[in-house]
C-alpha cells in the first residue's frame, strides 16, 4: 500500500466515523472536522514510480522473506526492471540478483485505474474501510468491516466494469483516529473529560434513572457542591465542542447533624447526576480504556464493559481511568473512612482510600474491579480527591445509589 492509498484510508476513517455515530456503536469514536483528500504525488524514491513504465509491470513489494519482488505479465522483462530499479536497490544495499519475479495477472496501470473507479462506489457503502491497489497481491483489495455484505460490494464494483477476478474483498478492522480521554468522543462513555463553566472533570459512568439517560460525576463537579443548579456540561470542553451534552439534575444537599461532626456538612458520596441532551449519543455500561495501567497513556484503545456493581475490600486491587493520569491500578488501603475535604467544611462519610496514582482533573473517574483479564469490570465507585499524587479517595457505588437513587449502570 503506497502513499496515496493510505490517504484514502483517511477518507475512509471519516466515513466509518459517520456510520458509527449514526448506529450508536459501543466503540468510542472521536469526531473530527479534519479535511480529507487525495494526493497522487509520488515520493521521488518510490520504487513503484521507478518501475511503473516497464511494460506489464504489476506491482513491487518485499515478500515474507524480505526479498524485493516484482509482478510482471511478461517475466522476460526482468532485465528492464533491473535497469529501472538497480540504483534504488543499490541505495538500499540490495543487489539486483536478489530480485524475485512473479507472474502478474494484471498490470499496475489497470489496477490503479480500477482502484480509482472502485473507490467512489465502494467507499460510499456503509462498512467500507479501504480500497487499495495492492502491490503485494496484484489485485485491488477492498477492506470492509465485519457484517458488511461482501457480495454487495463485489457486485457494485462489477457494475463499474472492474473484472471480478481483479478484486479481493476482505474483512478488516475499522480504521479509527487515535482519540484520547481529552478528545471529543461520541457516543459518550465513562472516563472522558467533561467541562462545566470554569472547570474540567472526568465523567464517571453512564446511568439510567427513571428512564432518563444520564451520567454520574462528582457533586463538586457542579456549579455548587450540593444542590441542583442545572449545571451545563460539554465534552471535552465548550471551546472544542460548543454543543451542550448534559444538564445537572440531581445533587443532594450536604447536611448537618446525625453522624456528621460538629461544624461540618456531610454526605456519603461526592456524586451528582446529569441528564443527557437528546442529541447526544451515549453508551450505557462502557468505560473508555487506555493502553495499560500505570503507563500514563491517555490514548483510547477500546472499552471496558461494566457487568456488575460491587464493593472493594481492603487489600483488593482496583482500577480507575481519568482524564489526567489515565488508567491507574492500586490496592485499597482503607474502607469506610470519614474524610474531611481540605479547604472546606465538608466531610465525606464512609469513603474508600486507594494507593494509586491521581492528578488534578481526575475528579469523577470511575473506579472498578476487573473480572479476570478481559474487558468486563465491576463498578465500585467514583474518585473525588487525593492526598498527594499516589493516594486517592472514592465514594462507593452503594453510597452513590443511596443518595442519588437506584441507577441502571449496565
Amino acid at each position: 500500500m503506497r502513499q496515496h492509498t493510505m490517504l484514502f484510508v483517511s477518507l475512509v476513517a471519516g466515513t466509518v466515523l459517520f456510520a458509527s455515530a449514526c448506529s450508536d456503536t459501543t466503540q468510542p469514536m472521536p469526531s473530527s472536522d479534519d479535511k480529507v483528500g487525495f494526493d497522487p504525488i509520488q515520493q521521488p524514491d518510490d520504487p513503484v514510480a521507478l518501475v511503473r513504465d516497464v511494460h506489464g509491470f504489476g506491482g513491487f513489494f518485499f515478500d515474507r522473506d524480505g526479498a524485493p519482488t516484482v509482478y510482471l505479465r511478461d517475466v522476460s522483462a526482468r532485465a528492464q526492471v533491473e535497469r529501472a530499479l538497480g540504483p534504488w536497490l543499490a541505495s538500499q544495499e540490495i543487489g539486483v540478483a536478489a530480485l524475485r519475479v512473479r507472474g502478474a495477472d494484471y498490470d499496475w496501470v489497470s489496477l490503479e485505474r480500477w482502484q480509482g473507479r472502485a473507490t467512489g462506489e465502494a467507499l460510499a457503502m456503509r462498512g467500507a474501510v479501504w480500497v487499495d491497489a495492492d502491490e503485494a497481491r496484484n489485485r485491488v483489495t477492498i477492506g470492509v468491516e465485519r457484517g458488511t455484505s461482501m457480495a454487495q460490494v463485489r457486485s457494485a464494483v462489477a457494475r463499474l466494469g472492474v473484472p471480478s477476478g481483479a478484486v479481493v474483498v476482505e474483512e478488516v478492522e475499522p480504521v479509527r483516529f487515535a482519540a484520547t480521554l481529552q478528545s471529543r468522543v461520541r457516543p459518550v462513555v465513562g472516563s472522558l473529560q467533561i467541562n462545566f463553566p470554569g472547570f474540567l472533570c472526568t465523567l464517571g459512568f453512564n446511568a439510567t434513572r427513571s428512564g432518563q439517560r444520564s451520567f454520574i460525576t462528582n457533586s463538586h463537579c457542579t456549579n455548587v457542591q450540593g444542590g441542583v443548579e442545572s449545571t451545563p456540561y460539554w465534552q471535552p470542553s465548550q471551546g472544542v465542542a460548543p454543543t451542550q451534552i448534559a444538564t445537572e439534575v440531581a445533587d443532594p444537599a450536604y447536611t448537618t447533624g446525625g453522624g456528621c461532626p460538629a461544624g461540618r456538612r456531610c454526605r456519603r458520596s461526592d456524586a451528582s447526576r446529569a441528564s443527557y441532551a437528546s442529541g447526544t449519543t451515549s453508551t450505557l455500561g462502557r468505560i473508555a480504556r487506555t493502553s495499560g495501567a500505570n503507563n500514563g497513556s491517555l490514548t483510547i484503545t477500546g472499552n471496558f464493559s461494566i457487568t456488575g456493581e460491587g464493593s472493594a475490600s481492603a487489600g483488593q486491587t482496583v482500577h480507575k481511568i481519568g482524564r489526567t493520569t489515565g488508567w491507574t491500578r492500586g490496592s485499597v488501603s482503607n474502607t469506610c473512612v470519614n474524610v474531611n475535604v481540605s479547604g472546606s467544611n465538608i466531610s465525606q462519610l464512609c469513603q474508600t482510600l486507594v494507593s494509586a496514582g491521581v492528578g488534578a482533573g481526575d475528579s469523577g473517574s470511575p473506579v472498578f474491579r476487573r473480572v479476570g483479564t478481559g474487558s468486563n469490570v465491576t463498578l465500585v465507585g467514583i474518585l473525588w480527591g487525593g492526598s498527594g499524587s499516589s493516594l486517592y479517595v472514592f465514594s462507593p457505588i452503594s453510597n452513590i445509589e443511596t443518595e442519588l437513587g437506584a441507577l441502571t449502570t449496565f
Binding site: T324, V341, G359, A360, L383, G385, S387
Partner: protein
Amino acid sequence: MRVEIVVPPRVAVGAPVPITLRIANAGERPIELHLQGRTIVFDLTVRRGAAVVWRRLEGESVPAILQIRMLAPGEVLELKETWDQQVGPGDYSVSGEIPTDGAPLRAGPVPLTISG
C-alpha cells in the same frame, strides 16, 4: 510566566510566617492555567537541612477537580498562607508547589531564618 515564593528573611521564634506564592504572566499574551481545586490548591514545604519540618497539605484530602484560570498579560495571581511555626531558632528553607494537570509549578527554595 514567572513563579516565585515570597517569605520574610527573618522572623522571631513563635511568630507567624506569612508566605506568598506568586504566578505572574510576564508575557504579552494571556495564559490559560489548569490548576487543581475549586479553591486553588498549593503546597508549601519548610525544611531544616533535608528534614521536612512542615508541609501545608500533609495528610489533606484535596478534590481532584481542575480549574481553568486565564492570566492576562501583566496579571499576578497570589496564593497566601501563614505558617504558625513553633520551631527552634535556626536556618530553614521554604519551597512551594502548585499542582496542574501536567508538571507542577514550583518556586523556591528560599531561605528563612528563625531567630531566638
